[in-house]
Subunit: 216 residues, 2 copies
DNA sequence: ATTACTATTTAACGAGTAG
DNA sequence: TCTACTCGTTAAATAGTAA
């Protein structure tokens, strides 16, 4: 592994995309971002350059393969501890949404992707649940579901959605959808399925619903 | 974030499972593993304990939530750079397998899971491809597919399988399956589908096949 | 503006060792 | 065995500044 003290700098470069293409980044601004002196930033860059971890050209700063490799192995170690496996079981109670979901689900750009990535075209409406125990959804936010990419119309922006295949009340296959930008989710989740979940499961507001999501 | 110099120690504790339950770990052995002196290890532990990142009890060393949170955010940053998205396109040539795949696919325990996790029960045979460019499969190994859990019979052990939904020759939906234990894959992949791929696509040994996998 | 040198200060390290 | 103290030494950080 790369010497640990450099990791904040390497992470910064990674976030700026220096693994993909050179980025302009002065020792002063690096110093500001990391809370160290300009002199230290300069020295770190020199040391990393000598070690073949970064390169500096006229185009800017690049993370070299050796540097990327070091970060990648760090990622692998962390993933083995944090990427959850198995089944997440959530419980929540039905409540009436704001019909926002219906509007989203009627967008063809989303509908096409639901079909191709989840294997079904959803009924144009979501079932809203308020979770009994928000903490239980944590593994979900660490995991990776199907990415439904967003789009833009002249009127508004439709963001990325993450969909997790789910089974509702042990009977109906569907998916749990969350906006991709929410990092740690709220106590509300939205479910979709091929059919109208309210009807299919004879649900009314306040009913409890069980959702199980298989993570992989 | 937790001060960077401690990350090797925190990673070590994470790998030992100190986030789940206390682990016995002396300053001397920590020092050995990290290549620092016993004195430094001792001091680091004291500092981390004061910062509320670890706890030391009679039962051993534990990573406290604050410490886990620091590592988790590190993981999130790395994941956003390393977890690949989009479509991976592979090409390979058909070759005759050893009928090993057929044996595997005939196991009910696997078959049930294929149905529930991929949405189809596969034809009992795999299509073997030798990849033209092994490097192209790298993003796959970093990504996460559907986990098909293994099982054990009196005769032998059937390991976990990872399945990635795939489209073969832009026509047939199926999946690419790999043993979970192989960390970085070889130049051979196996494809399954509801139908017999050889027949459906009129393939013979040596034919080139295109596979596209959607990562999410 | 920028980088990076030298000198000085500050912090980290590890040897020795007690409890 | 273990942990953790003191203390001399070494390394890293910053100030000042030149280019």
């Amino acid at each position: 592994m790369v010497e640990a003290k450099y990791t904040p700098l390497l992470l910064l470069l990674l976030r700026k995309g220096a693994h993909a293409k050179p980025v302009k980044f002065s020792s002063t601004s690096i110093a500001d971002e990391l809370g160290i002196s300009q002199q230290s930033a300069s020295r770190w860059l020199i040391e990393l350059e000598r070690a073949g971890i970064i390169a500096r050209t006229g185009a800017g700063l690049s993370l070299l393969p050796k540097g990327v490799e070091g970060l990648r192995s760090l990622h692998v170690i962390l993933s083995s501890a944090f990427v959850p496996r198995g089944v997440v079981r959530l419980r929540g109670t039905v409540f009436a949404g704001l019909m926002e979901g219906r509007y989203y689900l009627s967008q063809p750009h989303y509908r096409k992707q639901f079909k191709s990535k989840l294997g079904f075209t959803p009924y144009a409406g979501t079932l809203n649940l308020r979770l009994s125990d928000v903490a239980l959804r944590a593994p979900l936010d660490l995991s990776s579901g199907a990415l439904i990419s967003g789009f833009q119309t002249s009127k508004r922006l439709f963001g990325d959605i993450i969909a997790y295949r789910a089974v509702i009340n042990e009977r109906v296959r569907g998916a749990l959808i969350v906006p991709a930008r929410t990092h740690y989710g709220p106590d509300v989740i939205e479910l979709i399925a091929k059919e109208n979940l309210r009807k299919a499961l004879r649900l009314k507001d306040g009913d409890e619903v069980r959702v199980s999501i298989e993570l992989s």
